[in-house]
Amino acid sequence: MIIAQRKPLEEIKNMLSGYKNILVAGCRTCVTICWAGGEKEVGILSSQLKLASSGERNGLSILEATVERQCEKEMVIDELGDKVPEVEAILSMGCGAGVQTVADIFEGKPVFPALNTTFVGMPEKEGAWVEMCGACGDCFLDRSGGICPVVRCAKGLLNGPCGGTRRGGKCEIDPEKECAWVLIYRRLEKQGRLDLMRKYYEPKNYRAVKRPGRVKAATA
């Protein structure tokens, strides 16, 4: 699931300086689940913006809308189609893909991101999310017992722990964080597949990945 976090209000206000009526567009999928860009956060951000501009003479006028899924053209047009002509700028609270879909559709109006898309992750506990996958395009999980060293090891090593693992299996760089390779070792040990750790794995060739990635279904 894509996890995102809202930008501080200062940054958003600077983006919007000079524009008087704005459309704040939320998204009902991933960013709702991680409490960043859902309908509730659209309401909160709009209230903040209105409060911030209540001091000036002609304050901001804000339209609020929430798209079912901002990375789908049809849904964006269906939800925002009739609202965009009335505004000067769009503040999108979707993830990076959402912002760009809206920007591609409404070329005439500037589209600003209200969130920083952070990572692909899972909820650690209610209200807190942690990164699990770096979308590196060449999954290594089969050889590491289902724990991704590229993301969960601070140095992204593929061949076992660095020399600095702390007592209690904690990471050298961040004492609170578990060392990924200690976790991998324990799990493989439990499954009796420790031989995987004796093999040598080539370092990943990050340059080979052509950006932006493209996936085409066979039948498309």
Binding site: L9, G43, S47, Q48, L51, A52, S54
Partner: protein, 129 residues
């Protein structure tokens, strides 16, 4: 509602704060009249958006009044309300409202005096601005 009226919106939990307000009335104790009490089933019902909307509509101060933390009938109602008020405070600080205009208060049904003291403190804080 414009800011100069200095209106205080008080979200009062019906089990404790709303009863304390009634007790203050029944014992004829006076407190400033710019308070508007909104009855909620539990302090946990008050959302950050309600608090921001209250300020957006022109409230000068917001009080979220719920039960004592160990005595909430819904166990985590007051604790959740406290966290949301803290979050609302940080959001309001970003907007320049950082004089303590939003406050979480823990009351019991018999604390009429405490209810009045909280309302008076908030009223003075807003006048002082």
């Amino acid at each position: 509602m414009n800011r100069e009226d200095n209106k205080i919106v008080a979200f009062c939990c019906e089990h404790s704060a709303y009863q304390a307000a009634n007790k203050a009335g029944r014992t004829r104790l006076y407190y400033p009249d710019n308070v508007r009490i909104i009855r909620v089933p539990c302090a946990g019902r008050v959302d950050v958006q309600h608090i921001l909307k209250a300020f957006e509509k022109g409230a000068a101060g917001v009080l979220v009044m719920g039960c004592q933390e160990g005595a909430c009938q819904h166990l985590t109602g007051s604790t959740r309300a406290k966290e949301r008020v803290k979050y609302a405070e940080s959001l309001l600080k970003e907007v320049g409202i950082d004089g303590g205009e939003v406050r979480m208060v823990n009351l019991a049904p018999d604390m009429a005096q405490r209810f009045i003291r909280e309302v008076k403190e908030m009223a003075e804080k807003i006048e002082g601005r």
